[in-house]
């Protein structure tokens, strides 16, 4: 029944919580900011941490930098909290607990990553690690406009081939990144697809890969509270995103009525995506 037994880390061991000072704040795009901080514990690409902004909130964030002692998270301005979080400066203190959840399986050789908007945040460290092991990575990145393409230079710098799509056509293909992904899947062989972004996008990618029998792994997001597999806030079908995910094989997600259609608000009510 569990989706990701093969990728399951010893996530049940109690994670470390520590208070650290932000060492660096990097404006990545007009709407995304990276905060770097010292965190010596081991972390794997795909995992997330609970980031506590004292006096404000504690949010689940996929690590955008996982190696070495300087980890990082990359935050998109969405609600009030993420806007306040973005204004954190070097020296400001945050609480970090984790890392939690599973990771991307780095074994495949020819990997297509498909990132929509801030979804690239979790894909970049995974691609770096895979390339470090000799993989060939093609990155299909999508955003509203050219200057919102997250980690475009980082992907290029690590040796990935980069293809882009923008809603306004200011760079690459005009339209959705799924169009690019569909073309690549139709014309080139891949051993795996990693994707993160809006669930409608991930569903399209998964559907495109299905007839070609390329396994697709999706990093999904849900409201989280405990991150320990207890409180049920992040329940998604039979899974809990915090411990069974956040990375799921698409074949496990596609049959779920909720995937790409609804999420649950902090009270546990089911809310359609896009509804306010």
């Amino acid at each position: 029944m569990r989706a990701t037994e093969g990728l399951y880390l010893a996530a049940r061991r109690p994670a470390v919580r520590s208070i650290v000072a932000v060492t660096e704040r990097v404006v990545e795009t007009p709407s995304t900011v990276t905060l770097r901080f010292p965190f010596a514990g081991p972390a794997e690409p795909g995992q997330f941490v609970m980031v506590w902004f004292p006096g404000d909130d504690e949010l689940p964030m996929s690590l955008s930098y996982t190696s070495g002692e300087s980890k990082g998270v990359t935050i998109k301005a969405m609600g009030d909290t993420s806007r306040r979080v973005q204004s954190m400066a070097a020296g400001d203190r945050v609480g970090i607990r984790g890392p939690y959840g599973n990771r991307f399986d780095l074994a495949p050789h020819r990997i297509l990553v498909v990132g929509g908007g801030s979804g690239s945040a979790v894909l970049a460290p995974a691609a770096e690690a895979a390339i470090g092991r000799g993989a060939e990575v093609t990155a299909a990145l999508g955003a509203t406009q050219a200057r919102e393409l997250l980690f475009r230079e980082r992907f290029a710098g690590m040796g990935a081939r980069v293809e882009v799509a923008t809603d306004d056509g200011s760079d690459g293909t005009r339209g959705f990144v799924t169009t690019v992904a569909e073309r690549l899947l139709a014309t080139e062989p891949f051993d795996a697809v990693w994707t993160c972004g809006p669930e409608v996008m991930m569903r399209k990618v998964a559907v495109a890969a299905e007839p070609r029998h390329v396994p697709v792994y999706c990093s999904v997001e849900r409201h989280m509270k405990c991150a320990l597999g207890m409180c049920d806030a992040c329940a998604l079908g039979p899974y809990h995103v915090c411990v069974d995910g956040p990375v799921f094989p698409a074949e496990r997600l596609l049959p779920l009525p909720e995937f790409s259609r609804s999420h649950r608000d902090p009270s546990g009510r089911r809310v359609p995506f896009g509804a306010r």
Partner: protein
């Protein structure tokens, strides 16, 4: 093979290990998951009259494997939305107990009536959440209030009523006696033990709400003592809760007088697979000790106490 099926008054469970309220009980799929994993019954998240987001994060502080402090703040989808989740669980044959929280007897009765209509086998009253203003311990610390609430609920529903009492009082057994006087079919003890964590670097409480409730192995002796004292003062069956992570822990509760137990925090360290391990472990231990059934062990330690 010892017989693990237990009865709590008129309620029958396939084994003594019930999923405790607050754990995995917000979605129907999760209730199904706990049932499929082998729980003897599943208790819903405590449901209130209206949707409630709960407190902001941080809502938990984890202490290695020995404890967990939480102040979730009774998040729940509300009684209008929640019946669909129970329906999903019942479709899969799960034995579901509905948990409710309310601010007074009248609201408790109304909610209990609504949740009973969903086909739950019993209603558990949350008289013991230690960190929600106007609810839980705040309405469940005075025996008079407990008796009044239980009586109102008993009149409003046909299913058995279970009162979950707090350990955050000088005399938990008095609350159980009050529940019995009000007509409760059973009493469950304990809820979490009020607690606090402070981050010394930040000079502030860790949890957004400040005070929270401690669960996990650290509170097992507290729960056992409460069950022990309650068992000696009431005739209605007792359900033991607090810090159970092994079959041996559960057997301690049975011997202290519990007819069934609730299991929660251990899911954070062992996953939901813990239910099948508990069932297996209890079976083995009862065999070793020569008990033909789990029920045969209930309360046996009392005879030896003096």
């Amino acid at each position: 093979m010892a017989d693990l099926a237990v009865r709590v008054g008129s309620l029958a469970f396939r084994n003594p290990f019930l999923l405790a309220s607050g754990v995995w009980g917000e979605s129907g799929d999760s209730l199904v998951g706990a049932w499929a994993a082998g729980a003897g019954g599943v208790i819903t998240k405590s449901i209130g009259s209206l949707p409630r987001a709960g407190y902001p994060n941080p809502t938990v502080e984890q202490y290695s494997t020995w404890g967990l402090l939480n102040a979730m703040g009774l998040p729940n989808p509300g009684i209008d939305e929640y019946p669909r989740e129970i329906a999903a669980a019942r479709e899969h044959g799960a034995t579901v107990i509905g948990s409710v929280f309310a601010g007074d007897a009248e609201e408790f009765a109304r909610l209990a009536h609504r949740i009973a209509e969903t086909g739950v086998v019993a209603v558990e009253l949350n008289l013991s959440c230690p960190h929600a203003e106007g609810y839980g311990t705040e309405v469940g610390s005075d025996p008079k209030d407990v008796e009044e609430i239980v009586r109102a609920v008993v009149q409003a529903v046909r299913v058995p009523v279970i009162a979950k009492v707090t350990p955050n009082t000088s005399d938990a057994a008095a609350l159980a006696v009050a529940a019995e006087n009000g007509g409760a079919a059973a009493v469950s003890a304990i809820n979490t033990v009020r607690g606090l964590a402070i981050d010394t670097t930040l000079h502030r409480p860790v949890l957004a709400h400040g005070l929270g409730g401690l669960s996990g192995p650290a509170i097992k002796p507290v729960g056992l003592a409460c069950v022990w004292q309650i068992y000696e003062r009431v005739r209605i069956p007792v359900i033991g809760v607090g810090g159970i992570s092994t079959a041996e822990d559960a057997l301690e509760y049975l011997m202290a007088g519990a007819r069934a137990v609730e299991v929660g925090t251990v899911v954070t360290t062992q996953g939901i697979g813990v239910f099948s391990r508990l069932v297996e472990g209890l079976n083995r231990r009862l065999d070793e000790l020569g008990y033909a059934s789990a029920s045969a062990a209930v309360g046996v330690a009392h005879g030896a106490s003096t």
